[in-house]
Symmetry: C2
Subunit: 337 residues, 2 copies
């Protein structure tokens, strides 16, 4: 899933060139390239499918030249994750009716890809023999209010590391998040799902028959243009996960592989290497008397910063932001004014 258009990292990330296509960690690979790299040994390039906005198809082709061009599905309109996932799974099912599928966002990071592969292989082995949905549950390290949570069914029967899910929980307030952390039976919902393609298409038939019907009708590129934009705009969580979990059909694999959705500058700062003054920087950046800054200057030839404490500095394509870290929720507003 590579359709995101977030502006939280403006000007680094823009609607024309969003976060998944940026080398946000300064490691030489963009987030979508890192996401594909992560599946090395699990999935050959010929088996990847990318769903993205039509505007980003060319960027995907440039960044992932080894993925078959007809596996890049261009959404004519953004309809949230349920139609996105349904489209890819219907297409996969046409080619491989028994495929086991991993669904993943293209814009998250995983600091331990080896552990990631171990967990994904476990989940794929499970779905190969179970008509069940597996969602990867990240072991929480802090009372994060920016993620949804998965409540493990403590009374349920585990199979190896894979546990039944009792319920999905919306993003909590801080008190509730703290309670989840203390309780111990809650995991972060990373939006990474593993299933047999028959399982998910059947679930969509059951819980969202109109969406399933839309998918059955979508046979030609012209069909996509007319039908896809009419699909119900709904997340896979609401459309499938919650009703499936209520019937005890969803499992989770708890995992700890250094995952982050990089949803804000604080999480990027967290993932970057820090100098002795707790600054994290990507680019040709020199800092004097700076502390606690997070800097990403992708295109600048040289950046010199002096006397900044707790600031975001971001540059791309001739646009520049300097902003207190405490004000980062206003960046989208700044980008639009």
């Amino acid at each position: 899933m590579a359709g995101g258009i977030g502006s939280r990292f403006w000007p680094l990330s823009t609607p024309e060139y969003p976060k998944q296509f940026i080398d946000i960690l300064g490691c030489g690979r963009t987030l979508i390239q890192l996401t594909v790299d992560r599946f090395k040994g699990i999935c050959p390039m010929s088996n990847f499918w990318i769903v993205t906005n039509a505007a980003y198809v060319e960027i995907v082709r440039q960044q992932l030249p080894d993925i078959p061009v007809d596996h890049i599905l261009a959404e004519p309109a953004a309809r949230n994750t349920a139609p996105c996932i349904a489209w890819a799974c219907w297409r996969i099912k046409q080619q491989s009716p028994n495929a086991n599928v991993v669904v993943t966002p293209a814009d998250a990071v995983v600091m331990n890809p080896e552990e990631f592969r171990r967990v994904i292989n476990n989940a794929l082995n499970f779905t190969a023999s179970h008509n069940s949905i597996v969602t990867i549950g990240i072991k929480p390290s802090r009372p994060e209010t920016g993620y949804g949570y998965i409540k493990v069914n403590a009374a349920g029967q585990a199979e190896g590391e894979i546990h039944p899910v009792e319920a999905f929980k919306e993003k909590p307030n801080l008190d509730t998040a703290q309670q989840y952390l203390t309780d111990g039976g809650y995991l972060w919902n990373a939006g990474i799902f593993v299933w047999n393609v028959d399982t998910i298409t059947s679930a969509i038939h059951t819980y969202k028959p109109n969406l399933a019907n839309d998918m059955e009708q979508m046979k030609t590129p012209a069909d996509v243009q007319t039908i896809f934009p009419q699909c119900e705009k709904i997340s896979i969580d609401y459309a499938v996960m919650e009703p499936s979990a209520a019937e005890g059909k969803v499992f989770t694999h708890p995992a700890d592989f250094g995952w982050s959705d990089l949803g804000n500058w604080a999480s990027l700062h967290d993932k970057l290497d820090h100098d002795q003054n707790n600054n994290g920087a990507v680019g040709n950046v020199r800092m004097y008397e700076c502390n606690n800054c997070v800097v990403h200057a992708e295109d600048a030839k040289k950046v010199v910063l002096q006397g900044l404490d707790g600031y975001i500095v971001s540059e791309k394509g001739g646009q520049i932001l300097v902003c207190r870290r405490s004000e980062e929720q206003r960046i989208k507003e700044f980008s639009q004014e």
Copy 2:
């Protein structure tokens, strides 16, 4: 005189593209263009002479296309102002033995060009009939320690607004500058000189005979390459002004036309229009909760600044500086590390 290579405005100004060639006020004209514009009605384009470093000749031609190409004198090496001025004056004397000449730096600003023209015309009328040097003396508005001062000879005979000079004074410390201001008989030395070409060439023959001899020898471009770099590296102030003043041959025209040498960011901030929070900005700049900042973003498409108090923000050609105004004396060091 357009040979400056200052780095105090880095990255706005660089050795490759120094301050005189920058639209530092954001008015659509560079400092050298504004300097030429200022002489409208006094001096036709065919009578301008520019002395600059060989590296900047192409920039001068681009920015001042109406000045005769053979009036752009390319210094093969920087030798301070005495050889620079001598070269131009010897060349002018060849063409016009009785020319009255104004010498001016190319990188200062004058906020009231009409008053500037009135003063310059007064001085030119004076030198047309007096074998004397006139230096323009700026009425000081503060105890500035960054300029040299001119001490007026209070006992001397003035002719209209033009007074004899008693002495030139080096850049003072703050106490002395304050004393000059209180005393009232001191003016800033703006480095703007008016003289008959015969006066200055004679003075150089008298006080710097070796330099005069070098100029007499410099007949061909090849001569320039070999002789000019060997000229004594000395300012016109030391070479001519001080010994001439000691003999009572220098006059000054006190003036108040909004002059600044824009020698630092504080003086640029002073000359820019300010918003209600005392920010001065050039470029497509949006500021939120910013105070007392000076911003020059010449090439950036968009700059957003939040929560900065008393900072310099400068951008050009993909180089970016953010620095406390109190630390501006370190900018040259920053640019070189």
